[in-house]
């Protein structure tokens, strides 16, 4: 763990410690809301299942109620018809919350660049991490998750 001296001087020792602790807790306790729509769902399953076991990172507990979820995994193509649902789910989530764009369809729309799809969910919800791939292999997903954990750890924690 790197210590950010500048930051700790500015924000005070206690807050920085607090930040660190909260970051630590948050990154190892990821209750995810899997918003699974399409092909990527298959690799999402693989990631969650025995061979890759996303639970090792503390992200094994999917919550199907957005209220209880910390990370919104948007897995699979989002169509114009589905977009309002996604926005609503995002709005229902309680802070602090993060969004993972899983697969190219969610990152940029992928090769489904047509009248029916949303070209990247970042048009409708803020995205914290982009995991490209069509679908991403579980390794890619786990690496993305680790990047997200890094982000959770290092960001300013809000209570």
């Amino acid at each position: 763990m790197e210590i950010d001296f500048q930051g700790s001087l500015q924000t005070g020792f206690f807050t920085s410690r607090m930040d660190k602790m909260l970051g630590w807790a948050r990154k190892y306790s990821i209750f995810q809301y899997p918003f699974v729509t399409a092909c990527c769902g298959m690799e999402y399953m693989s990631t969650a299942c025995s061979h890759y076991d996303i639970d090792r990172f503390g992200a094994g507990l999917p919550r199907f109620s957005p209220r209880q979820a910390d990370v919104l995994f948007v897995v699979g193509t989002i169509s114009q018809k589905l977009a309002p649902v996604l926005v609503q789910i995002y709005e229902q989530m309680c802070a602090p919350k993060w969004v993972v764009a899983f697969g190219v369809c969610t990152c940029t729309g992928g090769f489904y660049d047509n009248y029916a799809t949303v070209t990247g969910i970042d048009h409708i919800v803020p995205v914290d991490i982009y995991i490209p791939g069509c679908p991403p292999r579980p390794e890619t997903v786990l690496e993305g998750l680790m990047l997200l954990q890094k982000k959770m750890q290092n960001q300013k924690q809000e209570i």
Binding site: H51, T108, P132, G133, E143
Partner: protein, 175 residues
């Protein structure tokens, strides 16, 4: 036509819940205790050959994958280190996702004639179909890096340019 009737009903033994449930519990318990045993043995450095479960402990341990697996792209180099690509746009043409952008330029060597001034792959669009590799007549683009890590915090980070793609290749030895 061979037809097989698969219909079945529960026997009395199965109808009383408890025996079948115990059977099922026995099965899962077998998994539990076998894995527990193997893990404990591993703690003591024993039974290294057995695996407790099937999980690969990424990132420390990577799952072995087939050489055919299409992974992150790279551009190969000539012996002078420049890209082998001649900007023929075959990959750009065949790409169903239109994720490759190439701009060609005049190469000083008239034998080569053309080279890519710009070569971007937008991983945010790429669907890893491997068509670009198949279409390349120069063996200039490959998807054999074995790298699977390319997530990013931003969309811009998903666009890999010529230098980045080249950096994954080494200059081949002189022949």
């Amino acid at each position: 036509m061979a037809i097989k009737q698969v219909e079945r009903d529960l026997t009395f033994r199965e109808r009383i819940y408890i025996l079948e449930i115990l059977k099922a519990l026995r099965l899962t318990a077998r998994h539990l205790f076998r894995n527990l045993f193997v893990h404990i043995a591993h703690r003591f450095g024993l039974l290294r050959r057995l695996r407790g479960g099937v999980t690969y402990q990424y990132p420390e341990e990577r799952r072995p994958f087939s050489p055919r697996l299409r992974t992150l792209h790279r551009l190969t180099r000539r012996q002078d280190g420049s890209p082998r690509c001649v900007a023929c746009m075959m990959c750009e043409t065949v790409c169903p996702a239109h994720c490759i952008y190439i701009v060609g330029g005049e190469h000083p060597d008239p034998q080569i004639e053309k080279y890519p001034v710009r070569f971007d792959i937008d991983l945010g669009l790429c669907v890893f179909c491997g068509y670009c590799v198949e279409a390349c007549p120069e063996d200039a683009i490959r998807m054999d890096t074995g790298k699977l890590e390319f997530s990013s915090y931003s969309r811009e980070g998903l666009i890999h340019d010529l230098q980045e793609l080249l950096s994954r290749s080494t200059t081949p030895p002189k022949r």
